[in-house]
Every structure is written in C-alpha cells, then in structure tokens.
C-alpha cells in the first residue's frame, strides 16, 4: 500500500460553485430568481384568481382595499393575480427561446470554427446576414405572419438571437482546436464528430454557459416587448401584455404598469447577476485560494 495521501483534484464544476458561492450579488441574484420562479409556478395555485376576471372597480389604488393589495387595472382586474400568472409564459418563452438560440448558435458556430475554410466562410456570411435584420422587427413580422402563440414567439426570438452565440462559439473553437489535447485526441483516432462534441465543446462550455444566461435575460425582454406591442398570445396573461393593455391610462393610474415592469426588471436583473457571477466563477484569473 502507498502511504502518501491521495491528491484529489476538485472537479471544475465544484470549483466554480465554490467561487460563485462567495460572490454576494450573484447569490442574491440566484435566490431572487428562485423566488420569482417558485412564485410564478405555485403562486397562482395559492393565490386564487383568474387574471382576466373583473373583480372590483377599475383603478383601485394599491392599499385601498385589503383584498387587492396592489390594486386593480383599468377594467377592474386584480393586479397580483396578473403578476403571479403572467410570469409563467414570460419565463417559459424566455427559456425556450434561449434554448433554441443556444442550439442554433452552438451548432453553426462549432461547425464554422472547427472545419474552417469554405464551411466557415459560408456560415459566417449567413450569420452576418441575420445580424443585418433588426431583431425585434423581424420577430414582429414572423409573429404577425404566423399565429401569435407562445411557441411562435419563442421560435421568432430564437431565430433572431443566435448570431452572437454562433460568433462566440466559433471564436472558442478556433482557439481550442489548436491545443495539444485536441491533437492528442486526433492522434488516437477520434473522429471529427467526437472531437467536436466530446473534446472541444466541454472545454468551450464556461463562456457558453455565461452567454446562455444572458440570452435568457434578452429573450425575456424580447417577449415582454412583443407582448407589450400586443403581438403576444391574447389569451395568455403576461407581464408585457399587462403594461401594453394599461398603457392608455398611465396618467390616471401609475400602478397597473409599474408593478409588471418591476417584475420584468427584477427577473432580468436576477438573471444578469447570476450571469456575472458565473463569468467571475469561471475566470481563472479571479480564482484565489
């Protein structure tokens, strides 16, 4: 038996988590995000109320009636009910759109960066083309041409947001594919597919995870903007829709637009705090023992 104590290297994920834990704003963001997520998931069950139901006189001030602490909107609909049920679609569309963005962006970026040459040329021209289209306008066109369901919206946001992810992935692949462990993998006979997915991609993961987090924030803002313009699904309550519907009456009642806006802001703020925290946690330069 060997008496020397065994040295166990910490796994990169665990090490990053240890760094993340020490970052107070990031932990605050994570807690805030979990609270918002649970509130939108279970809040509607605990707090009974259909956000479309007219339950009281219109424009009841917050605090004036104990039953409706945040007041009512221009039709007399309960604002808290809207906040609790309106978050779900926003978060779902945000997550689905971000997943699609990452899928398209990583696939195209990986192919372009790994193969180079004409593949790279072609894919990058394609990416540049999509960067020329103003994203929100193009998404508006897509949603109008096809039916405005939650999936159309998520699809539209995904289709317009991937170019930055593709560029980032390509840059990472260009850098990593020259490293020795990639050459070593090739030397033992690994095929291209395996090198791309099993060797390079895991090593390119940290910046991509950070970028995915920020993409969720951008997608949430996007969904809010589309719903605000009245291009969301009209049968689903969402924070953007609440602001858009009450827009005409802002000078008579500030609260029906202020609270949903704060909800969007807090969600995206929490997401970006987590993103910044991950960025620092993955950065070896900031890692001190």
């Amino acid at each position: 038996m060997n008496d020397t104590p065994e040295f166990k290297p910490e796994s990169p994920g665990l090490e990053a988590w240890r760094m993340f834990r020490r970052n107070i704003p990031a932990v605050f963001g994570l807690v805030l995000l979990i609270v918002i997520f649970l509130a939108t998931l279970y809040g509607a069950l605990i707090y009974n109320g259909d956000p479309f139901d007219i339950v009281w006189a219109p424009h009841e001030m917050p605090g004036a009636t104990p039953e409706f602490p945040l007041g009512t909107d221009y039709l007399g609909r309960d604002i808290i009910a809207g906040l609790l049920t309106g978050g779900g679609p926003t978060l779902a569309v945000g997550a689905a759109a971000a997943a699609l963005t990452m899928f398209i962006g990583i696939s195209l970026g990986a192919l372009a960066g790994y193969y180079g040459g004409w593949v790279d040329n072609l894919l990058m021209r394609f990416t540049e083309f999509f960067q020329v289209l103003p994203a929100l306008l193009f998404a508006m066109v897509l949603v109008t041409l096809f039916s405005p369901s939650l999936w159309t919206i998520a699809f539209a946001i995904g289709v317009v947001s991937w170019p930055q992810t593709a560029r980032l992935t390509r840059a990472e692949f260009l850098k990593i594919k020259e490293l020795e462990y990639v050459t070593a993998a090739r030397a033992i006979g690994a095929r291209n597919k395996r090198i791309i997915w099993k060797v390079i991609l895991p090593n390119a993961a940290p910046p991509l995870i950070v970028s995915a987090t920020l993409t969720i924030g951008v997608a949430i803002l996007f969904e809010a903007g589309l719903s605000f313009l009245g291009l969301g699904d009209p049968n689903v309550m969402s924070w953007g829709l609440m602001i858009g519907a009450n827009r005409e009456f802002i000078l008579e009642a500030w609260w029906p637009v202020t609270f949903p806006g704060l909800a969007i802001f807090l969600t995206v703020f929490a997401v970006s705090l987590v993103g910044d925290g991950l960025n620092d946690a993955f950065n070896p330069k900031l890692r001190q023992r």
Partner: protein
C-alpha cells in the same frame, strides 16, 4: 483607406440587401393563405378586382422564379409596392417616416456613447472606487430594464410631476407654421425624452465596456511614458488612453446598431414619435404586409450603412488595419 476597399464593402452591402429582399419575398409566400390576399392586407377589405390587379402586378400566376425576378427588379427601381391601408406607395410612406427614426437613433447613439464612455473613463481611474461601483451597478440595471417601461415611467414623471418636456409626438401643433429656428428647437425639445429613454440601455453598456477597455490600456508602458513626460491627467486619459481603448467600443457600437433600431421601434410606439417603428406597429395591426416588409427592408439598409461606416472608422482609428490591406 483605398477606394477599392470601399467599393468592395459597398458591393457586399448590396448583396446583403439582395438577401433581405429575397427573404421578404419568401416570407409572403410562406404565410398561410393566398399571397394576393396577404399583400392586400387582411383588414383592407380588398375587392376581387384589386386582388386580380395584384396578381397581375406581381405575376402571381407565373412560375415562382419569374415572380421573384419581378419582385427584385421592382425593388431595384424603387417600387416597394402599394400600401392598401394607407392607399399610398410604400416608398412614399417610408420616405416621410425614415427621417424621424434616423434623428432619434443617431441622437441616442451619440448620447449613449459620449456619456457612457465618459463615465467608463472616469470609473477606470479608480477601479475599486465608489464611482466604479456605481457604474457597474448602473450597467446591470440599465441592461435589465425594459426600454418601453423606462419610457412609460418617464412619461408619468414628466407629464404630471415635472412637466418640462413634451411626452408625445415630434412637433407642437401650434408651432407648425413657425420659423425654421423655432421649429428646430421645438423638435429638439420633443426629442429629449425619447432619445434619453433609448440611450439609457446602451449608455450602461458603453460605460461598462469602456471601463474594462481603459483598465487594460492604463496599465501599459506608453501610458507610464506619457505620465513620465508630464502629460496632464486629462490628456493621458482622453488622448493617450482612450484612443487605444476605442477599438472595442467602436466594434460594439457597430454591432449594437440593429438593436438600437429594435429599441427605437418600442420607444417610438411609447412616445408616438412619427418614425418607421410607429409605422411598422400601425401596419402590423392592419396586417399591411407591403408596408411591414418595406420597413424591414429600410431598417436593414440602415444597419448595412451603419456597418460600412463602422468599418471605415475602424480603419481610421487603427492605422495597423490600413497598412494590411
């Protein structure tokens, strides 16, 4: 900068625009329903004669590549189709609305870059100071606030609490017939809130970016040399350092332009600013596709032009790039 580079860049820009046109063409065909009805706009209440004349004009009974050719060559001669809702050629509609958008977007761009970079430079002097912290917090907040909501909050503030800026439109009705100077001042007065609303998001990003970029530059030898030879602090920061820190800022400014136009769309809707965004919104509500696609075409053209300008200024800012080509 060589002329051939410029021509090549413009040629590439035109190619991208051709791509946008082809995309527009296929978008109409992909939409469910008869393309003639789609073009006429579902709310237009088009008669059978109107539909027939659209089929004739767009050659909708001909093979698809002939249709594409008719569409592309029409746009090349400046014919973007007819808006059946506004009862006007699309090119004329957009010609009226593009200037307010350009005014708004460029003002917001100048505001966000100048204020943002100034904040970033000041913050970079003391990377752990209070100001630096404020810039970082402000940048995160600016990124997270929905732009249309900022606009609404500013309207509530300036319409009722401190009514010093107009919150709607681009011109006062009573000053329509005033002289040029009064009219310009009136437009500038109306521009304040929309431009600031749009600038706030990007301002935060530029502040953060220029802070990071300046931090890198300030540690370099030539800054120590500049300080050693007795250059003033202002000269070191804004002349020696900023010029070298400017490249990433320029890159982002170019890439952001498309997002700026997307933001302008929302801001115009909130403030009733009579630009292309407002036009896009109105035409989307009426399903007026020729107008929507016309706006998409011109908005993309603005991004292409902005990218060409960015490339040129990039070469101006970095002499190494000039020598390479």
């Amino acid at each position: 900068m060589t002329l051939s580079y410029l021509l090549r860049r413009i040629g590439y820009g035109l190619l991208l625009m051709l791509g946008v046109v082809i995309l527009n063409f296929f978008l109409i065909r992909l939409a469910p329903g008869d393309p003639a009805v789609v073009i006429a706009g579902e709310m237009g209440g088009a008669t059978e004669e109107m539909l027939e004349s659209i089929r004739e004009e767009y050659g909708l009974n001909k093979p698809i590549f002939t249709q594409l050719w008719i569409y592309v060559s029409g746009i090349a001669t400046g014919n973007l189709g007819e808006s059946f809702f506004f009862n006007q050629p699309v090119s004329k509609l957009i010609g009226l609305r593009i200037w307010p958008t350009i005014l708004l977007v460029i003002t917001a761009q100048i505001l966000s870059i100048s204020i943002g970079v100034f904040m970033g430079v000041i913050a970079a002097r003391k990377p752990n100071g209070i100001l630096s912290g404020i810039v970082s917090i402000f940048a995160t907040i600016g990124y997270a606030v929905p732009v249309f909501w900022t606009g609404i909050m500013l309207i509530i503030l300036f319409a009722s609490v401190i009514p010093i800026f107009p919150v709607e439109g681009m011109q006062s009705v009573k000053l329509r017939d005033a002289g040029f100077v009064v009219k310009t001042l009136d437009i500038a007065h109306h521009l304040v809130l929309p431009a600031f609303t749009l600038a706030i998001i990007y301002l935060a990003q530029y502040a953060r970016l220029s802070r990071a970029s300046m931090l890198e530059v300030l540690g370099s030898d030539y800054i120590r040399t500049a300080r050693a030879k007795g250059a003033s602090e202002v000269s070191v920061l804004f002349k020696h350092a900023l010029r070298n820190a400017a490249l990433p800022i320029l890159t982002v400014a170019g890439l952001q332009f498309g997002n700026l136009i997307s933001g302008a769309l929302l801001v115009e809707t909130v403030f009733n600013w009579p630009g292309m965004g407002r036009l896009a919104f109105d035409s989307i509500l009426r399903r007026d596709y020729p107008t929507i696609l016309g706006v998409l075409f011109f908005a993309s053209a603005m991004v292409v032009v902005a990218n060409i300008i960015t490339d040129i200024s990039y070469r101006w800012a970095d002499p190494r790039l000039r020598r390479k080509s």
